[in-house]
């Protein structure tokens, strides 16, 4: 049960990790907007559901909100030529006020009788199993969607633009334009995570996104490492691996918490875990051969 809670949260955060995968792995863009767009998805969902809107309406609004945030970061980066970190920090900081304005106060609880995506499937007696099943479906949908998208002509252009921008432009791809679209899609995914987590936990908090980008980063790298160890190179496995990385990350954190560590230390521990995963291969070259990281 304890592990199932962690796995469920890991699945809900999987969308965030897919978003980070798009910005970081396809565009080499460490996109800090995530902290704000995740919260944005969350606050739209909490306020929307509390005021009686349907799940679909709230989902669409969350995605639009996230995509607008990503577009803003993309435009600042490509038009004004600010570097990627600064562009993301600017939008994230601005979003804090917007999120607070939507929320009206520092946190909002979703009423028990409000609509919820988790009311759709009620086949098991225990709600956690229903939530798990729902999220598993969402997981399949998202992995399927992203795999398809990356295989289309548009997706190929996106991957080429991130991989070799000069070459992509040489084949008629406007690398700047497609980067903006890519960041919009990435932050749309990230907002979906906010949407899911708020319904899972029953509340939105203005600080729910603090440091979330690190979690996504860690999950992407854990997922890639797992897939590399098993030699999986297929696109859908790489994408599914990112969500699996998210689950593994949550399980590790749950284990640490269950060992009696004060939750106060969670962010520090998260940062340390990511540091170890990212930094260790650089210190020990033999690991680097096995797990290809940049």
């Amino acid at each position: 049960m304890f592990y199932l809670t962690a796995i469920t949260l890991g699945l809900a955060l999987g969308a965030l990790c897919l978003g980070i995968f798009i910005s970081l792995r396809i565009f080499n863009f460490p996109d800090i907007t995530a902290d704000g767009s995740y919260t944005l998805g969350g606050v739209i969902t909490a306020v929307g559901l509390a005021s009686g809107h349907s799940v679909i309406e709230v989902l669409i609004l969350s995605i639009i909100g996230g995509m607008l945030a990503g577009t803003a970061t993309g435009l600042i980066h490509t038009r004004m030529r600010l570097n990627s970190l600064l562009s993301g920090i600017l939008v994230m900081t601005g979003l804090y006020s917007i999120n607070l304005a939507i929320l009206g106060r520092s946190n909002v609880t979703v009423p028990f009788d409000a609509a919820s995506i988790f009311h759709g499937i009620e086949i098991f007696g225990q709600s956690i199993w229903n939530e798990f099943t729902t999220l598993l479906l969402v997981f399949c949908l998202m992995v399927g969607f992203l795999t398809y998208l990356l295989k289309t002509d548009f997706g190929l252009s996106m991957r080429a633009a991130g991989n070799n921008p000069v070459m992509a432009r040489g084949f008629g791809v406007s690398a700047d334009f497609i980067k903006v679209i890519g960041l919009a899609i990435a932050n749309g995914f990230i907002a979906i995570s906010g949407f899911l987590v708020v319904q899972l936990q029953g509340f939105a908090d203005i600080n729910m996104g603090v440091g979330i980008v690190i979690l996504g980063l860690g999950a992407v790298i854990i997922g890639e490492s797992i897939m590399n160890i098993f030699g999986c190179r297929k696109m859908w496995l790489r994408i599914a691996g990112v969500v699996i990385g998210s689950i593994v990350f949550r399980l590790v954190i749950s284990l640490v918490l269950s060992a009696g560590v004060d939750p106060m230390w969670i962010k520090l521990l998260t940062a340390l875990v990511v540091l170890i995963i990212v930094g260790l291969p650089g210190l020990i070259p033999s690991i680097n051969k096995r797990i290809k990281l940049e």
């Binding site: 289309t152 070799n164 070459m167 432009r169 008629g172």
Partner: protein, 254 residues
């Protein structure tokens, strides 16, 4: 027909000095001709190619292709009718994408990048057939990432991709400089064949005098941003690479 009129480009060095890379160049290139450009370091040959491709913007002058003024177009827009091959064999392909995925990008260079999957059985067969002609054994590796290929293989693929959808103009900036002699010969002979067969207007920048003599039907020498020699097809055949070396003070090989 490509017309270049009073094309100029000046760079400012870190020390604030002005450096005229290209100084009011005039050039008329008939469609289907193959022009070889030679010149010492800093003579302006790469600048000329970069201006035609749109990687650089000119300070003044015009570039007119078939009555369209294109000097203000961004590079990705010119890519609809213009292909480029760089000296660096890794520059023309996306390393993390499969061979077949790279070819797909080449196939849609002038088209909308839509939300359909373009790599179907027929397309894969097309790519296999094209690769078979190279005789490098790549036809069975179309699902391999380009990263795993050698420089010569990547340059050959770049060339095939560049000519996949017949471009109007093909720009080659020392395409063989980073290759071993055998790959260099393969790439140049393939390029020549593709250019002749499809009647492509081509530019070749080279430091190799034997290449400059053997390929193309016109030879242009740039020095300090100006055209100092312009030799037509007939006279070009009579040139001796050893004599051509004397046109330069230093830094050239036969």
């Amino acid at each position: 027909m490509l017309k270049i009129q009073r094309l100029s480009k000046t760079f400012t060095t870190a020390g604030g000095e002005q450096f005229k890379a290209l100084d009011k160049i005039d050039l008329e290139i008939p469609a289907g001709s193959f022009t070889v450009v030679i010149g010492g370091n800093g003579s302006g040959k790469s600048t000329l190619l970069n201006l035609i491709a749109g990687n650089l913007k000119c300070d003044e002058g015009k570039i007119i292709l078939n009555n369209r003024e294109i000097q203000k177009w961004p590079d990705y827009k010119r890519a609809r009718f213009l292909s480029r091959i760089f000296q660096d064999p890794t520059a023309g392909t996306a390393p993390d994408l499969k061979i077949v995925e790279n070819f797909r990008l080449a196939a849609i260079r002038a088209k909308r990048k839509g939300l359909g999957i373009g790599i179907d059985r027929e397309f894969r067969e097309q790519v296999r057939r094209a690769l078979k002609k190279l005789d490098l054994g790549l036809e069975n590796k179309i699902d391999q990432q380009v990263e795993q290929l050698s420089g010569g293989q990547r340059q050959a693929i770049t060339l095939l991709m560049a000519s996949w959808e017949n471009p109007e103009i093909l720009l080659m900036d020392e395409p063989t400089a980073a290759l071993d002699p055998k790959s260099a010969r393969l790439v140049m002979e393939l390029a020549d064949e593709i250019i002749r067969r499809n009647n492509i207007t081509a530019f070749l920048v080279t430091h190799q005098m034997h290449e400059a003599k053997r390929f193309g039907d016109r030879l242009i020498q740039l020095e300090r941003g100006k055209i100092v020699r312009d030799i037509g097809s007939e006279r070009k055949k009579e040139l001796d690479p050893l004599d051509m070396m004397k046109w330069f003070q230093q830094g050239f090989s036969i």
